[in-house]
Structure formats: structure tokens, C-alpha cells
Amino acid sequence: METPLTGNIRPDREPPSLKEYEKSGGYRALARVVSGLAPAEVTAIVKDSTLMGRGGAGFPTGLKWSFVPMGVDAPPGPRYLVANADEMEPGTFKDRVLMEGDPHQLVEGMIISAYAIQATTAFIFLRADYDLAEKRLKRAVAEAYEAGYLGKNIMRSAYSLEMYVHVSAGRYICGEETALLNSLEGKRAIPRARPPFPQVSGLFGKPTVVDNVETLCNVPHILANGAEWYKSLSLTAIGGTKMYGVSGRVNRPGWWELPMGTTVREIVEVHAGGMRPGYALRGLLPGGASTDFLVEQHLDTPMDFTSIPKVGSRMGTGTMIILDGKTCPVAFVLNLLKFFAHESCGWCTPCREGLPWVARIVKAIEEGQGEARDLSVLEEHCVALAPGRTFCALAPGAVEPLQSALKYFREDFERHIKERGCPWRAA
């Protein structure tokens, strides 16, 4: 089984230096690109590879790049590539692994991607708390400048690129791409209206592509080995491998790079070693806190962007959170809602007012103060905060675990209300 993204990663040891990265084939894809491929050819190869955005939305990466106006349509002045390294989705720890474990892979992926859109400047928008990743990325960027992979006339080609590590001042909403752009412009991190899309008018009003760290890390391998090879890595129609992870009461919580489309069951039972003795699996969030619960009957579903939606959820970040039988589902959802209510940026009313409202109701239920009609109020909010009702995807994501918990764990909510307290606390 091939693991292109993590082949160089040695947990708990220093990441590969520039020399070691080059020895493993690093920067050969970049050499090929800047010496012989036109930007449009790079984009075409990435399109053919079926690479889809690994931040959670699964938008086709090559297609996103192709929206950047090029040639005679291109406005004068700078254009930007931004790596979204603001990993902050609860339960998600995959980009940290990639940045700490093989920083040059991200840097090379960014240079190639920047070339495809002819960006003049690239930013790594890094989460404030990722201090180790910051140290390692800054070293990798400095090494890449030193070696002529960054700066003026990269590898003696006509292409030049500046790259900076921008450390965020910390806020969950910065992961939303337009809020990220506002933050990078030095403003409060609030989302922007679309259109215009960032590819046309993004950072400082210039054409900008924002891609997730894992997405960008795939790019050197696609350019080195071709679109057909990349597609062959996957078990399904969408190409590549995927960084999967599991947290919760399993025997071996952790991360694994596996073929795209590996089933939920294989990830949980084989790679994570199954549930710990005494703990039963009741459900799981497949890809971070903003995804709907899956339950036992869904375990044989392939973890990919098209299969998981067919069973009512989303692959999201691909890092699962397991709900076990000894953990109260109402309290689990309450923990998520308190987080989302706190992190709402306050820009649009449904999210700012709706999420604290929902969190208060779930808190009341958990603490034995719930009433029978609360469940229908919660259900109404799941509709009122659905996609299209709010400015960005924060609130719709926040109610995904709630709406599915009301479906799969309804009796637990009803028991809290009827017994005027949490059965798990009483036990």
C-alpha cells in the first residue's frame, strides 16, 4: 500500500531536513513543473487527478484553480496562494501531523500550486497554538529560499514566489476561507459575502486561492507520478489516499494514511483496534465536530466525499470522534454546541443568537430542566440554521451533530426530560 503523504514522517523525531527530503524525491516535481509545464498544464493534471479539497468541503481542487483569471483576463498586480493551516475543527489532528512531520512537502506543494495560478506571494495561515509546526515550517521555508526553490527565478526559471508563515492570533472562524482572508488583512475575522469568490477578488482584492494543508501536500506527488497513478491509489472514483484519524474510547487512537474509500469499519476496528474492553460503539462523527452522526448500520460505508453523504453525513476532515455507550449523547452534543456558540463570530444574527439559544436548551435538558416541547424547538432550529440561512457554514455545521443526535439518540433526550436528569450522571 502506498503512503505518499506520510512516507517521510517519523513520529516523535525531527522531520526530514532539506537534504533528506530531496533524497526521498523531494522538489523533483517542482523541477519538472518550472522547467517544462505551462501553468494551465499543471492545473489540467490536477483536474485529471480528481484531487478534492481535504479541508472538509471536498471541492475539486483543479476546478477551483481554473476560476483564477489568467492570461489576457488577468488583472494586473499581485495574486495569492494561501495554505489554510488553521486546523481547529474539534477532533481533527491531521494537518498538524503533516506540517510537523514533513514541512517541505507542504512547501513544495504550495510552490507548485502557486505556479499553476501564477501567484506572486504565498502565505501559510497557521493556527496560533501550533508552535512546533511554526518552528519547523519557518525552518523549511528558510531552507527552500537558501536552495533557490523560493524567491526570485525559482530553479533559474522565469517564475518567482515569496512565501511567508503567518501565525494567527487565534479564532475558530479563521478556518472559514473568507474570514481567513479578512484576518490576513489585519481585520476582525468575519466571513465575506460571495460572490465575488476569492479566486477573482480575494486577499487585498486580488485573485486568491485558499487550499487546505492536506490538499496541497498531495500536489507534488500528483505532478511527480501523474493523474492515473493518483487515481489508482483510491478504492473509489475520487483519487488519492486520505489522512484518517480516530479519537475516543478505542484501543489505539491515532491517524493513518489509507486509500480513499476505506470503510468506516476498517478504520475503527482494524486500524484503531476496535473499542476498548467495556465500551460499546454507539455512534461516531465521521469528520470533525461539524458532521452528522453515523451509527452501527453505517459502518460498512466507504469514507469518501460521495459515499458518506449517501448515509446522511459528510466525510468532513476524515478524523472521527467516537461516542461510546458510557458517554451521554446529550452531554456530548452539549459540549459541541457550547463550543460553536462561543466561536460564532457574531456577524449574522441566526448564528449569533441561535447557537447560544440551542446550547441553553440542550444544557437545560442535560441538567434535568428540559420540557417535552424542547425537542421540537431544537428541531426548528436545525432548519432555521440550515445552509442558506446564515452567512457562512459555521452554524449549519454546528447543528449537524444535533439534528442527527435527535434522530438516532432521541430516546436519550426523552429520558433526560422524563427522568428530570442525566441517567449517566445518576449511574
Binding site: 474539534p90 481533527t92 489532528f93 503567518h166 501565525v167 475575522a189 470522534i321 459541541l336 463550543f339
Partner: protein
Amino acid sequence: MLSDKEREEIEAEMARYPHKRAMVPEALRIVQTHRGWISDESVRDVAELMGMSAEEIDTIASSYNMIFRRPVGRHVILFCDNVSCWIMRSDAVRDHLVKRLAAGPGETTKDGRYTVLPSACLGDCHHAPVMMVDDEMHGNLTPEKIDRILERYT
């Protein structure tokens, strides 16, 4: 007043951005690195350097979790209270931490050594429960482990 060193560091970073204003969060981070927190005076100093009003700077400063508008201890503990840690009973570990330090979330110990802040998911969920002390991660926390970690910082 900003020190020469602070001013120098801020100006060195400015070249990256086409507009001076884009430097506001970074400037606040630099000042905070030197002073531990952002006082009203620091807000006014950054405002002057940026050519903006203090109110404009504060509206930015107050919107970010990692800009501290109140004094903090010599070490900042970010304690993850998100779902993956909570499942692994981070509540019990946090209660031990709070009792041991006699400082709750958002508070600083009497000796000024630690400030405890609840944090969003720290992205190390396979080692839950986790916390950070300054720039160091600590995972698989237990009350005993907390005791050992707290001894290490002065």
C-alpha cells in the same frame, strides 16, 4: 511606549503586506511576546504606529482568543475542553488542576506563576486529554501527570 526592539520587529514584518493595517494582529502578537499581555497603553501605542484609532485596534484585539487584554501569569495553560478530550474525562483532570492551583478557568494563581485558560480543540486528540503550557503540548493527562508537569515550570 513601544520599545525600539518592538518597533523594529514590527517594521521588519511589514514588508510582507501591501497595507500597513494588515500588520495589526501581528503587531499585537509581537508586543504581547515582550509584555505578556496587551494593556490599554499598548493598544494606544500600536494605534499610533499603525495610524489608526485605539478603538479600531481594540475591536481587532478583542476578537482574537490569543490576544490577552488582561495580565496573565508567567506561564499560560491552555486546557482543552473540547469533545475528544471531554470523552476521555478531561473534566476530572481539569478539576484537579483547578484545585491544585486554586485558580479556575480565566484566573491566575496567587504567586503569578500560572494562568489557566480553557481552549478550543488543540489538535492532538489521539493523546486526549491534552493541555499546553506555553508552547509545549502535554497529552494523556492524569491527575498524577498534572502534578509532575506543574513542578517543571517556575
